[in-house]
């Protein structure tokens, strides 16, 4: 894999994905293989939005590779509060670090940042756009649990604003995967994502309920429906209730169904699912470390 920046999952070929996942599997099996490999590397963490998993796992991954990180801290305590543009911020930070991990609330922010700096930019989420490193750990989790070919996956929840969905759906087009998209009408995949999936030769199968497809799925990828997407609290409650899964519902699923979620969840997956063999979301979050280690090792 050779990319100066990782902005979108659309950049990733099947070969790129397999390279990172293979490397991640090696690292997971024996973390010592990469210890100290990047002892002189300093990674900049620029998170303009709150993050727990992504930020901490990049921090941990870089340190486990022997490098270190510098963190911009919260927006409230940075120059952004004084009205500094993103273009200026990244041009300053590139002088301090060897690579920049960027999360920003605006779509296209990582693309913009990549136009202003020479150090690698890794998109850690740009608004409702893309989240390609989450996709790599999602793909790793899918490969470990269900395999990546001859697979049927259901992707459910907020498909319109869900950046993890946009990246994952595109990355899956590199493999022999049937994708089913389950969402309320108002939160269907955006036009741009559907366009890209068609261009990549994928069939976009859309459903408003999970009952149509649940028993055919090998993987169910659940995302959070956000309250702020609905003008009305009652409408939100009604929709959120329809896209909630629990152990009872999963009785109709295949025994080996893998249930994933990028987390944080609110109540779209009932706690009783945690106790079933389907639940894979905590393992998924843990996979962020070897996958981000592998990615940084490949890029730096």
């Amino acid at each position: 894999m050779r990319h100066d920046h990782l902005i979108s999952a659309k950049q990733l070929s099947r070969g790129d994905i397999e390279t990172v996942l293979d490397r991640a599997a090696e690292i997971a099996a024996d973390p010592g293989t990469v210890a100290g490999r990047h002892a002189d590397t300093l990674l900049g963490l620029l998170f303009f939005e709150p993050s727990t998993r992504t930020k901490m796992s990049f921090d941990a991954a870089m340190k486990r590779l022997g490098g270190d990180t510098v963190d911009m801290g919260s927006v409230d305590s940075s120059s952004v509060k004084k009205g500094e543009s993103l273009a200026d911020t990244v041009r300053v930070i590139e002088g301090y670090t060897d690579a920049i991990v960027l999360r920003h609330p605006s779509e296209g922010s990582a693309k913009l940042a990549s136009e202003f700096v020479d150090v690698p930019i890794v998109n850690a989420g740009d608004g409702a756009g893309q989240h390609p490193t989450q996709t790599l750990l999602d793909m790793y989790t899918i490969r470990e649990n269900a395999g990546l070919d001859d697979l049927t996956i259901g992707i459910m929840g907020d498909l319109k604003y869900g950046r993890t969905v946009h990246s994952l759906a595109h990355a899956l087009t590199n493999f022999d995967v049937s994708q089913h998209f389950i969402s309320p009408e108002s939160l269907r995949l955006p036009r741009g994502v559907r366009y890209d999936l068609h261009e990549a030769g994928a069939q976009v199968r859309e459903h408003t309920g999970i009952d149509d497809v649940l028993d055919s799925l090998d993987v169910l990828y659940v995302t959070r429906i956000q309250r702020e997407r609905f003008p009305d609290e009652n409408e939100y409650r009604q929709v959120a209730g329809e896209y909630r899964i629990d152990a009872d519902l999963l009785g109709a699923a295949k025994d080996d169904l893998t249930v994933m979620h990028p987390l944080p969840r609110v109540d779209e997956i009932a706690p009783d699912v945690d106790e079933t063999t389907h639940a894979t979301y905590f393992e998924q979050a843990h996979n962020g470390i070897p996958v981000r280690m592998a990615l940084l090792d490949e890029m730096l």
Partner: protein, 153 residues
């Protein structure tokens, strides 16, 4: 010169945009930033008969030659248009518009959450698709009412 073109007077210096799809002349004027308030001398023919298009619009603008940027955006809503540059009553250049691969600095992204709409030192940029345009930054696709996304001139 055809009878159709004689319906409005010849211009001395400027641009004649011919073979605009019928009904699109006002959008062409919007692209050129012409709203009548700044005194340009403009003649417009709308829905006049055309061998090629059935019905077409024509716009004649006195005293102004179009920039490449303006022609690029024009091509998105009037792909069959021909541009005639007139100097001293003679057509000195005549060419059809061609669709560019990208248009920069002319359209603004309709996605209010796109970084290109924030206060950043960049121009908006759109890739031109078979049908519509796509923001290079947030990847929003615009197919309808492209003229309504033209940035203020």
């Amino acid at each position: 010169m055809t009878d159709t073109e004689l319906r409005v007077s010849k211009i001395e210096d400027g641009t004649v945009i011919d073979h605009i799809a019928g009904g699109q002349a006002l959008n062409v004027l919007a692209i050129l930033g012409i709203d009548g308030g700044s005194g340009e001398e403009v003649s417009v023919g709308m829905n006049v008969p055309s061998d090629r298009l059935g019905r077409k619009d024509i716009v004649k603008v006195e005293g102004r030659e179009l920039s490449q940027n303006e022609v690029d955006v024009l091509s998105l809503i009037a792909p069959a248009a021909t541009i005639n540059i007139v100097r001293e009553f003679e057509v000195v250049e005549k060419h059809r518009v061609t669709r560019p691969e990208t248009v920069a600095g002319v359209l603004s992204c309709p996605n209010a959450n796109c970084i290109s709409t924030a206060d950043e030192p960049i121009e908006s940029r759109f890739d031109v698709l078979e049908e519509g345009v796509r923001c290079t930054y947030c990847e929003t696709i615009v197919r309808e009412s492209i003229a309504s996304h033209i940035s203020a001139a």
